[in-house]
């Protein structure tokens, strides 16, 4: 009988610890499919973050390292500068990448480090139980913004793609979502391109994946995906924010 669907080789055959309805499983799969399809599993070295994806080092079959909170792009820089022939990627959440690790994010982008960054934005700190993230929306209720995020008190959420796109350095900055099949397919293409860019030596590629956190948002998985569409995507629009090679071809 013909096999029509199977687990990507790059994904380990172990149970994931994520909550029911959490899109991390989908995003892991998209990364693994990209590694498989590009034939780079054996060359890949992944950097896991601190946050919900902290145990990603057990979920990918390639060599893996666990970084301190926010430091994944610096760790990836160290690896890539030693082993330019390998494919180095980070997998980070919003607290990790856009709060404590903002300096590492901005400077690795400014240096156009030839690495691939998968940035999962679900507008909340999941692992620690639902605190306000640098990307939590105005008015969003979290454990540490129980009356809703008051932008006069704690500032505005950070739009990472828009900010990084102002830099000369990075090659490819894009935002995708995984709230429906159409968007998942688009996300897959963007992730694959971000790895292809590294193989081609083009430099820093970041894919922001707008995701959901049903558990800490206090919603069912279905409601959470609807909230992505109704509340998150208007603030964080899907799109390509920088693509230097495409701009050159057009120009």
């Amino acid at each position: 009988m013909a096999v029509v669907f199977e687990k990507p080789k790059s994904l380990a055959n172990v149970p994931l610890h994520y909550c029911p309805g959490c899109p991390h499983g989908i995003i892991h799969r998209l990364v693994a499919e990209a590694l498989d399809e590009l034939g780079i599993e054996g060359k890949a070295i992944g950097v896991a973050p601190v946050g919900c994806a902290v145990m990603a080092y057990d979920y990918f079959n390639c060599d893996m390292i666990e970084a301190a909170h926010g430091r994944a792009p610096a760790v990836a820089t160290g690896i890539k500068r030693c082993r330019p022939e390998n494919i180095v990627f980070t997998y980070q959440g919003d607290g990790d990448l856009a709060s404590i690790g903002m300096a590492e994010t901005v400077h690795s982008a400014a240096r156009n480090e030839n690495i691939t960054v998968i940035f999962v934005n679900n507008a909340i700190y999941g692992m620690t139980g639902g605190q306000m993230a640098p990307t939590s929306l105005p008015g969003q209720v979290t454990q540490t913004s129980p009356y809703g995020r008051d932008v006069n008190h704690c500032g505005w959420p950070i739009k990472v793609c828009e900010m990084l796109a102002t830099l000369e350095g990075p090659e490819y900055i894009t935002r995708v979502a995984v709230n429906n099949v159409k968007n998942v397919n688009k996300a897959k293409k963007a992730i694959k391109k971000a790895f292809q860019n590294q193989m081609d030596g083009k430099g820093f590629s970041l894919v922001e994946v707008v995701s959901a956190c049903p558990t800490n948002w206090g919603m069912t998985p279905q409601q959470a995906l609807e909230w992505v569409e109704s509340d998150m995507l208007p603030y964080y629009p899907i799109g390509v924010y920088k693509d230097r090679s495409a701009a050159k071809e057009e120009g």
Partner: protein, 353 residues
């Protein structure tokens, strides 16, 4: 005769690191160690290496973490406030059991402190600095020659024991020039089957990690690590003894303080005071054996330090408080004169500790 070159202490570290096979340097500017970065910036691109100025000390130690995990000989250097920032990475490197080489050319503290020589990061270097149960091998050069030879030794020990080796120097030795030779350099190499190289789809994936959510697993890891530390304490302690054969008093000092102390010991001998010097070369492991043996012969110790008295605690522990220990110290960037140390020796001779 061995070829000798005149070098600054900081440059000697950089050149020795390159000779030890280090081809990757990540750092952030801070006084008084910038000559190391400047030397690396000039040399690395010409020998196929990488010099990269990071956005912060935190980023630079994490670049070291990544490069070390990739199996390379790699280093960073900084000075006291910068080492505080690197403490996070040092803890992760310890928890992941990977080798790294770090230089601290100390300046006065706490806080921004000053930029003059100091030894006030002794506790930070020998007792941890970052969080959790861990140790670093701490090497304390007292000359430009030792800046070079202990750098090479440090890279060897780091690889051998899969942990951080730190040079704990000070601004004086970093800045001063002396003739040195590299001819005795012994470069050791160690297999690194744990390194991140890519699986090539031929082996199970390697994971470099310090997270153990099961308490019994984490406990086991720590016990295993401390077994290794115990072996290091028994075999790797280094020290120098000067005029200790018939000594009735023992001065203990490391780094630049030991150079001053040596002059004071010679001056005291000229006055007929039977005093000697023990100079720890490794601060961890501390030369407990040598000090404990001396405690059975001498009537007291004088700890000479550029701090408010940090090593003195290890002298008391090593000698099990069998003899009194006096403190002769300056801090904040001040260095005692040989006469100040001589005064302490005279007082100790009279039984004043």
């Amino acid at each position: 005769m061995a070829e000798r070159v005149l070098m600054k202490g900081n440059e000697a570290i950089a050149e020795a690191a390159i000779r030890a096979g280090c081809r990757h340097y990540f750092g952030y500017p801070i006084t008084p160690q910038t000559e190391i970065a400047a030397y690396m910036a000039k040399k690395m691109p010409k020998i196929g290496g990488v010099f990269l100025q990071a956005e912060s000390e935190i980023a630079s130690i994490n670049m070291v973490y990544g490069a070390a995990a990739a199996g390379m000989r790699v280093m960073t250097s900084s000075s006291s406030p910068g080492i505080s920032l690197k403490a996070e990475g040092l803890s992760y490197i310890a928890g992941s059991d990977i080798p790294a080489f770090v230089v601290n050319v100390q300046r006065g503290g706490p806080g921004l402190g000053g930029i003059q020589p100091s030894q006030s990061d002794y506790f930070q270097a020998t007792k941890g600095g970052g969080h959790g149960d861990y140790k670093m091998i701490v090497l304390a050069p007292a000359s430009v020659q030792e800046m070079a030879s202990l750098t090479i030794k440090g890279f060897n020990l780091a690889d051998k024991y899969r942990m951080t080796a730190m040079i704990l120097a000070d601004g004086t030795i970093g800045q001063m020039m002396e003739p040195i030779s590299f001819e005795d350099a012994q470069i050791e190499t160690y297999e690194k089957p744990w390194a991140l190289t890519g699986t090539n789809c031929e082996r199970k994936h390697n994971v470099v990690n310090s997270l153990y959510l099961q308490p019994d697993e984490l406990e086991k890891k720590n016990f295993e690590r401390y077994e290794r530390y115990k072996a290091i304490e028994q075999t790797e302690a280094m020290w120098e003894e000067y005029m200790m054969e018939d000594a009735e008093l023992c001065v203990v000092a490391f780094g630049i303080a030991s150079r001053v102390a040596k002059n004071a010991v010679a001056a005291a001998r000229a006055e007929g005071i039977k005093v000697g010097l023990i100079r720890p070369i490794t601060l961890w492991p501390f030369p407990t054996q040598a000090l404990n043996a001396a405690a059975d012969k001498v009537k007291g110790f004088i700890s000479v330090e550029l701090s408010m008295g940090q090593m003195i605690e290890d002298v008391r522990l090593a000698t099990q408080c069998k003899r009194p220990v006096a403190l002769c110290n300056r801090c904040g960037g001040m260095i005692p004169s040989p006469d100040e140390v001589l005064d302490s020796i005279r007082k100790a001779q009279k039984g004043e500790f």
